[in-house]
């Protein structure tokens, strides 16, 4: 069992090659449809691209994990079965799944294929994780981004599978796989369609006083003064007013991104097997920068050398970053 694997995002075949060349132990990707949770325009793989990408990765000793981690709506499951069959035929190293029907389909039709439990399954207790291990033979769980390191250490002792945690990138606030905020405002569902704040429903409006508001589905998610940089309108990072907060505040979270680089040694010590970098929607140069910096850090820690954390911290320099839930219960 290899410790501290680096799991890297690939939104395109070029990004996949970049991540592999930069030292990814595994890359994760999806098909160009609703079967994965980053169903964004211009992203993801055709079956032919995936075939070539698997060959590229395997030739360089890297694994390819296929995200099949959305929830098929009743009557439309065929698209998911098709993706499962194609992926298995192309020799992907594991499927990342969330829906019990999808897990059961893979376990039945492609026995022996490795299953990872997606963060979208929201398994945040040893019992929930064991349920998926027991019934579908899940070999690894991607933990929700809501646990502290001591809690992860405890869970590790009580489950029969490996643990993967997010370490860097976008920081979702809601329990993943249990969030219908996007569909409430746009009609497109994170769980069923694989989208979150879809670009087609986003608008920026300039006001007379020079301020700018960002909107989703016609609802104002945030408003920025002229001297502020307008952010992307994600509902859980929006600014709203409450009865005793009339001035408006970030009701759920500030627009920050997750950077756990400083906690890396502790997470390895807690028994985390794999670290996931978020960002299939990111550019090649972003992937190259982040993956190579984490590669160096993980190798240093594994070899008992002091890691150069400054490189990692610098990746988000100028942006707000957070340790999220991992460092202290006070986050909750």
């Amino acid at each position: 069992m290899s410790l501290a694997e680096l799991i890297c995002p690939a939104g395109t075949p070029a990004a996949l090659r970049t991540a592999v060349d930069a030292g990814a132990d595994a890359v994760y990707c999806g098909f160009q449809n609703a079967t994965n949770a980053r169903n964004f325009p211009g992203l993801n793989f055709t079956p032919q691209e995936l075939r070539e990408s698997v060959a590229y990765a395997h030739a360089r000793n890297a694994k390819v994990l296929l995200a099949l981690n959305t929830y098929p709506p009743a009557g439309k499951t065929d698209l998911w079965w098709q993706a499962a069959d194609i992926g298995a035929g192309l020799g992907v190293d594991a499927f990342i799944i969330a829906d019990m029907g999808v897990a059961h389909y893979l376990a039945q039709n492609h026995p022996g294929i490795r299953l990872h439990l997606s963060v979208q399954a929201a398994a945040s207790s040893p019992e929930a994780i064991r349920y998926y291990c027991q019934h579908f033979g899940v070999k690894r769980v991607v933990l929700p981004r809501i646990l502290t390191i001591p809690e992860i250490r405890e869970i590790r002792k009580e489950i029969p599978c490996e643990i993967e945690t997010f370490i860097f990138g976008n920081h979702g606030l809601m329990v993943e796989g249990r969030c219908s905020l996007t569909s409430y405002l746009t009609g497109k569902s994170t769980n069923m369609d694989g989208v979150c704040s879809p670009a087609a429903d986003v608008e920026y409006k300039r006001h007379e006083d020079g301020s700018m508001s960002s909107q989703l589905g016609g609802f104002t998610i945030d408003c920025f003064r002229c001297d502020e940089k307008a952010g992307y309108p994600t509902i859980c990072k929006g600014r709203y007013a409450a009865p005793h907060r009339r001035e408006g505040y970030y009701a759920f979270e500030e627009p920050v991104s997750l950077n756990l680089s400083r906690l890396l040694p502790e997470l390895i010590d807690a028994g985390v097997h794999a670290f996931k970098i978020e960002g299939r929607q990111r550019s090649k140069s972003y992937v190259r920068g982040v993956v190579s910096a984490f590669r160096r850090a993980v190798d240093d820690i594994r070899a008992g050398r002091p890691a150069n954390m400054a490189d990692l911290v610098a990746l988000t320099e100028g942006q707000k970053q957070t340790h999220g839930a991992f460092e202290t219960k006070k986050w909750r």
Binding site: Y71, P72, P73, A74, G75, T77, A98, D99, M100, G101, V102, H104, A121, S124, S125, P126, E127, A128, Y131, Y132, Q134, P144, I146, L147, L173, M174, V175, G177, R178, C179, S180, L181, S183, Y184, L185, T186, G187, S189, N191, M192, S213, F219, T220, I221, C223, G238, Y240, A241, A242, P243, H244, R245, G248, A251, F252, A325, K329, K330, W331, R332
Partner: protein, 308 residues
């Protein structure tokens, strides 16, 4: 509208932090006056609230059962801490099949014995429903965002498997849960030091956009829709499509009257237009929505052919 005595009206668990006294009064009145067949009890949102009212559960169960209601105990949606795991395991170990499981931790503890699957379990499709039925599910609550086309297929598969299928037809939709308490955050506190500020908002804490448009409601770790789901005009189609249970979620309005309106429409005693006007009178200014049913943005109110 066709008379349908088969579909059952249910009352979902109270999502908010209502006081023990309010809960007693509420359920006593439901027992005596509300034409609902089944009542879900228990704390689903926040494990910190449970100690305030769980001592009353045996009394409430007895009172509701004496009134002829089926009572189902619901488990927490989010299970992470020791006390949450314990609370889930306790309900899952009960002999009665009338428990509603809202987290996979509960499914693990239940180990295949009969149970209901709650709305937080993501029973989105026929394959998942078949899997769940094979593991002891006698009933599934469908996710609030499923459109009519998927509800039809899901309900039909439940019917073929001989299990119940439930859809929420009234009240705020649960849109998200989190590990973080947004009530506490709004008051500059943390979840561990929340001092139960959520008790101030009996119908959730309203959030408005910065240009003053109502958008969401905060209920502790849960985020709800601002609008009340109202599927009165769609009731007969839901029943025709095989939905066996129709859920009313408790809001801070006269729920006995709400239940009476839905019951009257189900029995074919009043027309939908008349019922809609009555529901509007009971609920006041709040927005009604049915967008999810039509595959549109959930907050939308789509004019229904059946209501004309």
């Amino acid at each position: 509208m066709a008379v349908n005595e088969m579909a059952k009206l249910t009352l979902g668990p109270i999502a908010y932090h209502w006081s023990a006294e309010e809960r007693r009064d509420f359920y006593f009145r439901i027992a005596d006056e509300a034409p609902v067949d089944e009542v879900y009890l228990g704390e689903v949102i926040c494990s910190k609230r449970a100690p305030f009212h769980e001592a009353d559960l045996p009394t409430l169960i007895e009172r509701l059962e004496q009134a002829g209601k089926t009572v189902i105990l619901s488990t927490l949606a989010e299970v992470m801490l020791k006390r949450e795991r314990k609370a889930t395991a306790e309900i899952a170990s009960m002999d009665t099949p009338e428990i509603e499981i809202n987290n996979a931790a509960g499914l693990y503890e239940r180990a295949g014995r009969p149970h209901r699957v709650g709305p937080f379990m993501n029973a989105y499709n026929e394959a998942t429903i078949a899997w769940m039925a094979g593991q002891g599910a006698t009933h599934v609550s469908l996710p609030c965002e499923l459109p009519a086309s998927a509800i039809r297929v899901a309900a039909q598969s439940a019917k073929d498997l001989g299990i119940g299928a439930e859809v929420q037809v009234f009240g705020r939709a649960s849109l998200a849960v989190s590990a973080r308490c947004y009530h506490a955050r709004a008051h500059g506190r943390t979840k561990d030091n929340c001092q139960f500020v959520c008790e101030q908002d009996r119908d959730g804490m309203p959030l408005r956009t910065t240009d003053d448009r109502p958008i969401l409601r905060v209920n502790g770790i849960q985020t709800q829709s601002e609008s009340y789901v109202d599927l009165l005009p769609e009731l007969d189609r839901l029943v025709a499509d095989g939905v066996t249970h129709l859920r009313l979620m408790p809001q801070a309005v006269d729920m006995v009257s709400v239940a009476a309106v839905f019951h009257s429409v189900l029995r074919g005693a009043i027309a939908v237009d008349e019922a809609e006007a009555m529901l509007r009178g009971i609920c006041g200014e709040v927005a009604f929505s049915n967008g999810y049913y039509y595959g549109e943005a959930g907050y939308r109110r789509v004019a229904s052919a059946a209501s004309s």
